[in-house]
């Protein structure tokens, strides 16, 4: 009984190692593509969040001559008066509406006089609120204008012998209690999704090969004439699928370990808690998911009539790891013993906790592993029953 399983497993491992599709999905998609995509994604998010603050923005100013101090203040804060920009309010409105500028500023002709008399000196900000891209720029201009108004206001109060704090009844201080590692979890939470996806992708083609592939090539019928029970044949194939899934998972973890070194998480005050020990623990937490994934994919593939049909259905199976992520982010769930019975959600919660550098509960990990393995075994038995049907040959 045991030897045929090993014979089948070994043959599948060797055969698929020579198959370009399997290699691509095991060695390329998971380990290279996912971490690279992840690193690029985070880099883009970081650069979007960080940029804009120090970048120089061209700001058309109408009537700049009325407020040389304000213009100088704006310039010092990276808002350069645009040369050859619109000269009237109407032109500026048209230019902003066209999208030529994100925002324009018009200084009231009475500004200089009002300013000198400490009256209400007015400027007009011309913005297009329907343009989301321009919102950041207009907020920045508004922020700089507010700062200028505040600064002048305080100077005027001081000149009159008043403490500027009379204008500020309440001062708000913010104290952020999250650790650096906990903050990076917002981004690293996506990691479990990529890891589960890469794990499933590693076994994708082997699971199809077990039934639909063999049948389409006409090698299934001869295989069923050897004196080995169908359950042994299928278990051998599933064992090979698990081998590839584990390989894909391990390589993907190594890929992430390397890729995260190139991600400036520190730029957001975050620390990527992903050293070798965490990678090994992540592997151990996710490994019990592989029998479940292999059995599920094999079962789904054994329903199908052709290779193409199997591919279509299995692509849907690849969406399964997105469910816990969606649930976890929508409901903001916390690790809980009852949730450890739900495979993939439990792995997501455990790995996320691990990345947050929170103490790992071994009883949680044990329940998560048990639940995945038990469900995997049940699905494997179901797949074997399907494999035993006469209709398998089509």
């Amino acid at each position: 009984m045991r030897t045929p399983i090993l014979v089948v497993c070994r043959k599948e491992v060797v055969e698929n190692a020579r198959d370009r599709r399997t290699l691509l999905s095991t060695l390329f998609f998971g380990p290279l593509f996912a971490p690279a995509l992840f690193a690029v994604l985070i880099n883009v998010m970081l650069s979007q969040a960080l940029s804009g603050m120090d970048e120089t923005v061209e700001l058309p100013i109408i009537g700049a001559g009325h407020a040389p101090n304000l213009v100088e203040f704006l310039t010092r804060h990276g808002l350069e008066a645009a040369d050859g920009g619109p000269t009237t309010i109407e032109d500026a409105r048209a230019a902003v509406a066209r999208g030529q500028y994100d925002v324009a500023l018009a200084v009231d002709p009475g500004y200089a006089l009002a300013f000198r008399n400490s009256d209400d000196a007015r400027v007009t900000l011309i913005v297009d609120r329907s343009e989301t891209r321009a919102t950041a720029t207009s907020q920045r201009v508004r922020f700089v204008l507010d700062a200028y108004a505040n600064q002048i206001g305080m100077l005027r109060l001081q000149a009159r012998g008043l403490n500027p704090t009379v204008l500020r009844a309440v001062t708000i201080d913010e104290l952020d209690v999250s650790s650096a590692a906990a903050r990076s979890v917002l981004l690293l939470g996506m990691l479990t999704y990529f890891l589960l996806l890469a794990t499933l992708a590693g076994g994708f083609y082997l699971a199809i090969d077990a039934t639909a592939g063999e049948r389409e090539r006409g090698s299934l019928e001869p295989l069923l004439t050897v004196p080995v029970g169908r359950s042994s044949l299928l278990l051998g194939k599933m064992a090979a699928t698990i081998c590839y899934m584990l390989l894909s998972l391990a390589l993907t973890l190594i890929g992430f370990r390397v890729a995260l070194a190139f991600v400036p998480l520190e730029g957001l005050g975050m620390r990527a808690n992903f050293d070798a020990a965490v990678a090994v623990k992540t592997f151990l937490l996710l490994a019990p998911f592989t029998p479940l994934g292999a059995a599920l994919m094999t079962l789904v593939a054994s329903f199908t009539r052709s290779y193409k049909e199997a591919q279509t259905y299995l692509t849907l199976v690849l969406l399964i790891p997105t469910l816990p992520l969606l649930l976890a982010s929508l409901l903001n769930v916390e690790p809980d013993m009852s949730l450890m019975w739900i495979p993939s959600l439990s792995q997501h919660l455990l790995v996320t906790a691990l990345l947050k550098a929170e103490p790992l509960s071994w009883s949680y990990a044990a329940v998560s592993a048990t639940a995945s393995i038990v469900l995997g075994a049940a699905l494997a038995m179901l797949a074997i029953r399907f494999y035993d049907r006469e209709a398998l040959l089509g």
């Binding site: 014979v7 001869p222 050897v226 004196p227 006469e390």
Partner: protein, 239 residues
């Protein structure tokens, strides 16, 4: 030695086999002759245990195929329709894989595979991957694979399908050689000449029933001096 008695099989409302009985002896080639859809493949599939009959029984060397399918498979070498190989494995690996599944261990396995490669003249493609093999090459490798455990009984489903003249001739020689060594061979075909040239006993099947059964000579005696072709047309039309 194969004994088939009262085999019946239906798929839904379609009757594929209706009370079929015949026997095939050692040292003889028995041909199942009939048009497409007559039930030849279903009969062979029950014999090599991938289908179960609704009624009746069949034994291979006194092993019941329904009660002891794994033991029956040990007695059998099978060349199913189509003869699919593993495209990423070489000829040698394709044959050895089945040898291992039959429980043959090294070093006996390598020796047996090498012997089959020599006897079937597969040296040229022995270490090439099966991807892109011609139909003739595939059939030869599949035949070697079916023979790896030296079975006494051989079942072949449309073995000459898609083979060119040379490959058909060498296959015939091969089967003749195996028969002369005392093996029991059953093959199916819808080609009259092939059965006439190759088989000692002929079972004519149509619509799931046996319409004529006997040696080539006996059938000729029974139907006068008609050719097998005419017998075939007559019996199939009459059923």
């Amino acid at each position: 030695m194969i004994e088939v008695s009262g085999l019946s099989k239906r798929f839904g409302s379609v009757v594929a086999l209706d009370d079929i009985s015949f026997s095939a002896s050692d040292g003889r080639i028995t041909g199942l002759l009939g048009p497409n859809g007559a039930g030849k493949s279903t009969c062979l599939r029950i014999l090599y245990t991938v289908l179960k009959p609704d009624a009746g029984s069949a034994t291979i060397n006194d092993v019941d195929v329904v009660a002891h399918p794994l033991r029956a498979r040990r007695e059998l070498g099978v060349l199913p329709h189509g003869a699919g190989l593993y495209p990423q494995l070489t000829t040698r690996e394709n044959i050895a894989y089945f040898g291992r599944l039959h429980g043959i261990k090294e070093p006996a396995l390598s020796a047996r595979v090498a012997e089959l490669i020599a006897r079937l003249e597969l040296e040229e493609i022995a270490d090439r991957r099966a991807k892109g093999f011609s139909q003739g090459q595939r059939t030869k490798v599949a035949l070697a694979r079916a023979l790896v455990h030296a079975p006494n009984t051989l079942l072949l489903d449309e073995p000459t399908n898609g083979l060119d003249v040379m490959s058909t001739l060498s296959l015939r020689n091969w089967l003749g050689e195996l028969r002369d060594r005392g093996q029991c061979i059953v093959l199916s075909s819808h080609i009259m000449q092939e059965v006439a040239a190759l088989c000692d006993d002929i079972v004519i099947v149509a619509h799931g029933r046996i319409v004529a059964h006997g040696t080539a000579e006996a059938l000729r005696a029974r139907f006068g001096n008609k050719s097998l072709e005419e017998i075939f047309v007559e019996t199939v039309a009459g059923s």
